[in-house]
Amino acid sequence: MSALLEITDLAADIDGKEILRGISLAVPKGEVHAIMGPNGSGKSTLSYVLAGREGYAVTGGTATLDGADLLAMEPEQRAAAGLFLAFQYPVELPGVGNANFLRTALNAQRRARGEAELDAGAFLRLARQELKRLAISDEMLKRNVNVGFSGGEKKRNEVLQMALLRPRLAILDETDSGLDIDALRIVAQGVNALRGPDFSALVITHYQRLLDHIVPDRVHVLAHGRIIRSGGPELAHELEASGYGEIVAKAAAA
């Protein structure tokens, strides 16, 4: 059986500059994989290319979600197909209420999948339940999306969206950065609550810390736009102990 997310030799440029230089990666159904790597190695670029942000030229390779060609889809089609990206830097939307935003997103996906839409009451019940689980106050629904949110609130709002949208594949781009230990635990719980045979995740992180709470099935190290090593959860500990320097140097020498 093929993996849920299957990336093969993926290469991408920004403004003619090669950023992703042949990435191959497979995340089977139900598995959580981590991507670690130094700053500037291309982690966010990979997540954006998969989510369909403009400004990247894919120069080679393929990416499929459950066999469907991701790269041929519009961003909203990728979302409806079950892909979710928790942004490293969530975007502020002044003038857009959070509750309205969440319900519009949820219903757009439900409609795209031929499911019935949720009315305001049903949505609110669902949202309250998830808010409680994530220790977010109801008041966050009334505010404008991410406007005036602290760094931690923004990240929690991303996890809230994930919890409501129930993706088949979540990509979390440094969702842990800037979080204190309590917030980190809540974020991890949000991910772990979704874990199961129909949920896969690609957890991008700089630190091993998050991976103590979300234990990955596999860890991949990304450097200079390539995956230079893959291994089990113990690889994260090895990196924590030795830093990226050694492993990157070794890969460069090879």
């Binding site: 989510a51 369909g52 942000r53 403009e54 519009e74 961003p75 909203e76 990728r78 979302a79 409806a80 990206l85 942004f87 969530p90 975007v91 939307l93 002044p94 003038g95 857009v96 935003f101 519009t104 997103a105 949820l106 757009a108 996906q109 795209a112 969206q161 949208l165």
Partner: protein
Amino acid sequence: MNATAFLARFDNATIASPEARAAASVLREHGLPGMREEAWRATPLRGLYEADLDAPAAPVLPPVLAAFPAPRLVFADGRFAPALSAATDRMHVATGVAMLGLARPATDKLVALNTMLATDGATVEVAAGTDAGTLLLAHLATGATSHPRHAIRLGAGAKLTLVDYAGGQGAYFHNPVLEVALAPGATLTHLRIQDESEKSYHLATIYAEAAEGATYDSFLLARGAAIGRTEIHARLAGPRATAHLNAAQLLARSQHGDFTTVVRHDAPATISRQTVKTVLAGRAHGVFQGKIEVAPEGQKTDGYQMNQTLLLSPRAEISAKPQLEIYADDVKCSHGATVGELDAEQLFYLRSRGIPEAAARAILVRAFLAEALDPIAHEAARAWMETLIDPWWDNAR
């Protein structure tokens, strides 16, 4: 056809009052607005002067008007339509032409045209200390030219929300003039919905005068007409009088929309606030001209004007002209302007959550308008406006 030929259409009009005769002679001497006039440079009226206007037909009351929870005065092609109206006893209402002496037909040519040709209008008076609730004043046009003349007078401490709707079908010219006189402490909330036919011409002029502590709180939603213009002259005549002149214009295709304001701070500690939002698609042309004049008596004036434009197409165009004329030395007046496009990051963020591109754009357009719309406290009026804004993006090209 030019302005002179256009004016000649009215050669046989009945000229009833001395005011109408005076206005007619102003027009004979000076004609209609032309490109050479500073106030009309950005809004040429050639399209109107050359227009082939339809013959008037029987108007139909749109269901949204019938359903609106307020008494209503409906005018059809410039004439009161009692059969389409619904009465109220919370204020004194009369029809016919009444003038409050605030309008200036000697200098404002379209007002001269209105003064010469007006045959009907609403006079609404709210007694001192009375909260008259909400009144819907609607104009439905089907053809030719209409020049309704309205007068609103609020006694001391009186309150009224006037929902002022203009719509219609076909090619016509609607040239309303509305005068507002507010006694001390009175508040008029004036919510205008300009949803005219896209083959029509809508040129409205409003004069509002606020005495001590009175508030003229106005908002315009304009999304109709081939050429639309709302010109507001607000005079803050007594201490601590306030004017809010907010507007949202949504223009597409080859529409032209102009919002022109003149606020005169003629008394101490008067306050004016203007939040003007223009959204332009297609080859639309938006105009905002906002003038704040502070007289020597206007010490401690607090004037603020913000004009923001969202360009949804590279072929759309905005002309903005803020003007401050200050003759008092202790005032706080500021204005600002921004012009921008939809934010690509915001658009991607919405789409990444599964919201289709067109819907994502509509959300961001609505968000852009939020600052101007959010202060509208009247739920039914705001809900009505939302139903006009929501689908706007669908055919805005």
